[in-house]
């Protein structure tokens, strides 16, 4: 009956073998995981290696200070200041569109909408995030650009009313509140009404005048910074909304309940308690949205006009601009060392700038998010 008696304790040799295989396995897994490390290092190495010769050939100043971008001219000039500006301008535009919308939507999702509506809105955000960028670019070029060109003035006027009216009303409200704070209670009501009426008349008059000038505006070219900014804003929206919403949720029920218990309305809770608590998360969301806008290629290549100029005045969104990503995509055929020259290396120099920006932005947003987790985690 010796056979049925099993040895429940492993022999020394078997145990050593087990541990050895576990170690080898761990090493193998580590190696496979390190692929991502290798990939990142390779990318940074290749881009840097081919970008440095440009700086050796042309120095550091020209790329960042000059606006003359003539890579195939005789003599060739590589002033990319206008291109950096173009990226900055469309990113600014995208942020102006996406941040107010995104934070408002995040507030709606985390605090205001009931559960069932929230479940219907989440797919909308996921679909917006999932649509391929070339479909956005197609829309921007084929549908939006002609619209802007032919009816741009009226569209801008409508947008002005849509945004200006609510904002104006809120402003009137705030102003009347602040102005009548020190007046006696019984007169205050009447005073507020009169002030509000006067301000409202001014608002309507102003909006009418502005919209008249806008409607008369002739947009020369539908592929411009405005077109790209709006589309990029819509593309960055899902990122901002989901990260901001996560941050707002992470602030926790206790904070909210405490605030409500003290008698605050929902809006006061949000503005005075929740948003300050989730503030860093919202900043991280904005940074991620910026990264999305900066790194987008197809939309800007198709619909920004690709003119390497700094618009005059600098905030003229209706003029075409050129971005870093579109320059790289457009000239990428030069990325061949065969006839290697400054033209080939400058593309890598631009890519290096993009890479460094996204690297820094990434680190910043991660650090902020981790800090917020620690801060809020400690409150729990």
């Amino acid at each position: 009956m010796q056979k049925t008696e099993r040895n429940l304790i492993m022999s020394d040799a078997a145990s050593r073998l087990r541990r050895l295989t576990a170690l080898i396995l761990k090493g193998f897994l580590l190696l496979a995981t390190a692929i991502s490390l290798v990939a990142v290092l390779l990318i940074i190495a290749y881009i840097t290696r081919d970008a440095l010769p440009f700086f050796r050939l042309r120095g550091l100043g020209e790329l960042f200070k000059s606006t003359a971008w003539y890579p195939s001219g005789h003599p060739a000039e590589f002033g990319a200041l206008a291109i950096f500006f173009g990226t900055g301008l469309v990113t600014l535009g995208a942020i102006l569109v996406a941040v107010p919308l995104g934070i408002a939507a995040a507030i709606a999702l985390s605090d205001i909408l009931p559960y069932r509506l929230r479940q219907t809105v989440k797919p909308v955000i996921e679909i917006l995030a999932a649509i391929p960028s070339v479909a956005y670019g197609f829309f921007a070029l084929v549908i939006f650009a002609p619209l802007l060109q032919n009816r741009g003035g009226s569209l801008l006027a409508i947008a002005l009313w849509l945004i200006g009216l609510p904002l104006g009303l809120i402003l009137i409200f705030v102003i009347t509140e602040m102005a009548t704070r020190s007046i006696r209670e019984d007169v205050a009501g009447a005073a507020r009404l009169i002030l509000a009426a006067v301000l409202a008349v001014i608002l309507i008059r102003g909006l009418l005048a502005l919209s008249a000038t806008l409607t008369a505006l002739r947009i020369a070219s539908g592929t411009n910074a405005l077109n790209v900014s709006i589309i990029l804003g819509i593309m960055a929206l899902p990122t901002i909304v989901s990260v901001a919403e996560d941050s707002l949720q992470a602030a926790g029920r206790e904070l909210r309940e405490g605030s409500y218990a003290l008698g605050a309305t929902r809006a006061e809770t949000l503005f005075k308690v929740i948003i300050p608590a989730a503030g860093s998360g919202i900043i991280a969301a904005v940074i991620l949205g910026v990264m999305r806008a900066v790194g987008e290629t197809m939309v800007v290549w198709m619909a920004s006009g690709n003119a390497a100029q700094i618009p005059s005045p600098w905030f003229n969104f209706l003029s075409p601009v050129r971005t870093l990503t579109a320059t790289i995509a457009g000239d990428m055929g030069e990325a061949d060392q065969v006839t290697g020259s400054s033209r080939y290396h400058v593309l890598f120099a631009l890519a290096l700038c993009l890479l460094l920006t996204s690297f820094i932005a990434n680190l910043a947003s991660e650090w902020i998010l981790r800090r917020q987790q620690r801060k809020l985690g400690g409150l729990k």
Partner: protein, 273 residues
């Protein structure tokens, strides 16, 4: 995971087995010559099934580079190879042989609603370098000119720069697009725009202006009276082996059907077939 590994091994084995697929021709280069290359490719593939001809249109400069790099067999270019490209080719032991498959002219196009009737070379140059900024300076309405140009890796751009701009720099507010088709699209939808395309891209949605009094047409390009005429090239690495698919493909332009195709795409065949 095991499934993926087995799939990978099978694919690689199949790949090695099928590695001897000499029946592929890669064509890369100009967007102007693109329609001709695509039509030739389809015509040839119909006659010789089993050959896969792929066509990319990323610009004449890229075509040259791919040829020198060895990543394409035929480089379509709307300009002649530059000196540094020849040098790089020789350096990489590539011998570029050129075939002029068609003739073309660079036409200046404007929106049909533009009242301007003709331009001189001087005026075109002034428009593009920014001295003339408004259509009113040319007798038209008071609308700022929207100048559109090809991207810098384009053969059409290089020809335009050499022959019309004579080396001067384009104004900074010029919009750049990636292909002749894109220029035509922008011009047809923008009233204040002006651009330049190959003759094959003119249709009734844009207006081609006479330059120095001569209208762009097959006849004027052929007899040289149109000032911006140019040949369209196909380059190969060394003369293709006689009787091979590559040989038959690049010599399509000499056959009657080939020249019909060139004419039907809107360009000018080299002979009077």
């Amino acid at each position: 995971m095991k499934i993926f590994q087995t799939l990978l091994i099978i694919t690689m084995a199949a790949g090695f087995l099928g590695a001897a697929d000499a029946n592929k021709i890669t064509v890369d280069g100009s967007t102007t010559v693109g329609p001709i290359a695509k039509a030739f490719a389809e015509f040839y593939m119909k006659q010789h099934p089993g050959v896969n001809i792929t066509v990319s249109e990323s610009g004449s400069g890229n075509g040259a580079k791919s040829l020198i790099n060895g990543s394409c067999q035929v480089a379509t270019m709307s300009r002649i190879m530059k000196q540094n490209e020849y040098e790089a080719a020789v350096h990489s032991e590539v011998l570029p042989i050129s075939f002029v498959v068609a003739l073309d002219g660079i036409a200046m196009i404007v929106h049909p609603g533009n009242p301007i009737k003709a331009l001189t070379m001087e005026q075109i140059k002034s428009i593009y370098i920014g001295t003339i900024k408004n259509w009113s300076q040319l007798g038209g309405p008071n609308v700022p000119i929207v100048i559109i140009s090809r991207d810098t890796n384009s053969g059409t751009y290089e020809t335009f720069e050499t022959r019309v701009l004579k080396g001067e720099k384009i104004a900074k507010n010029c919009e750049y697009v990636g292909s002749s088709g894109a220029i035509r699209q922008r011009v047809q939808s923008t009233q204040a725009a002006i651009g330049y395309v190959g003759i094959g891209f003119i249709d009734n949605t844009v207006k081609a202006l006479p330059v120095n009094g001569v209208s762009p047409s097959p006849e004027t390009v052929k007899d040289g009276s149109y000032p911006i005429g140019r040949p369209l090239y196909m380059y190969t690495n060394d003369y293709p082996k006689m009787g091979s698919d590559l040989y038959l493909f690049v010599n399509l332009y000499l056959t009657k059907k080939g020249q019909e195709i060139i004419e039907e795409t809107g360009f000018i065949p080299v002979t009077n077939y």
